[in-house]
Symmetry: C2
Subunit: 123 residues, 2 copies
DNA sequence: GCTATACTGAACCATATGGTTCACTATCAG
DNA sequence: CTGATAGTGAACCATATGGTTCAGTATAGC
């Protein structure tokens, strides 16, 4: 498939955001960069556990990190989530179109005495 | 946490969308309702496998199904993805704010001879 | 009534995920 | 130099995920 890479990117992004701990870490980091320890503490998980989450976020390019001294500084990555937004926009447009079709269908059938089981479904 | 249910809903939604097969099924169904068999075929998976994906989408309320005769009619669910959109909007606003702060920071420090290591980071 | 079709549920499998512990390295502070 | 601190990597564990097969049930069509 042509869009294979984009598909993969969507996979990684949606998956990264599917975990509440990771979303929490993004929120924490959006208030200012933090160390692994600072990210681990509020969730009561180990440094190792936190590091794993951070790596997932890095791979989705939602976070970027830099080792400074013995601590790792984690900050928000540059991603605007444009591709994800695009997918959602497409989906919502589809949904809107579907509702429009339903609307038309209801108008069309208004006044008919009975619902015909054999009638074409609107969606 | 107060927002526990919403958190869970976000979890389920992001997770449901993280799989390319499921996104494909949503796209297929957005063109008109389809049976389990019709959803399975393009991905070369079994009916059982397809049914599992459909169930995940149902639980995320992205798809709704109805058993008619011996086939199960799958159509788009009513969800507008509003909560997900809201989360993403918040994230993007944060990102924008972060870039603004960086911008100010760069203006502030313009003309200073040297980068001071001890200086407050912009983000 | 009989047969083909459409789906379902249980059992199973391999891999991924989210977490741990423990031993280790690297740096900071005195 | 020495001790405390911050993080890392490997090994491990339980559960979840994405898929299968196989034996059913229920309906459609003749």
């Amino acid at each position: 498939m042509v869009h294979y890479q984009e598909e993969q990117r969507l996979d990684r992004t949606f998956a990264a955001l599917a975990d509440p701990t990771r979303r929490g870490m993004l929120e924490r980091v959006s208030a200012g960069s933090a160390s692994i320890g600072e990210l681990a503490a509020p969730f009561g998980i180990t440094l190792t556990g936190a590091r794993k989450h951070v790596r997932v976020l890095e791979e989705a390019e939602l976070m970027s990190t830099e080792k400074v001294g013995r601590t790792r500084l984690c900050s928000l990555g540059p991603r605007r989530l444009d591709d994800l937004q695009e997918w959602i926009d497409g989906y919502r447009r589809t949904l809107a179109a579907r509702l429009d079709r339903l609307d038309e269908f209801l108008k069309e059938t208004k006044g008919e005495q009975r619902w015909q089981a054999s009638r074409q479904r609107p969606c």
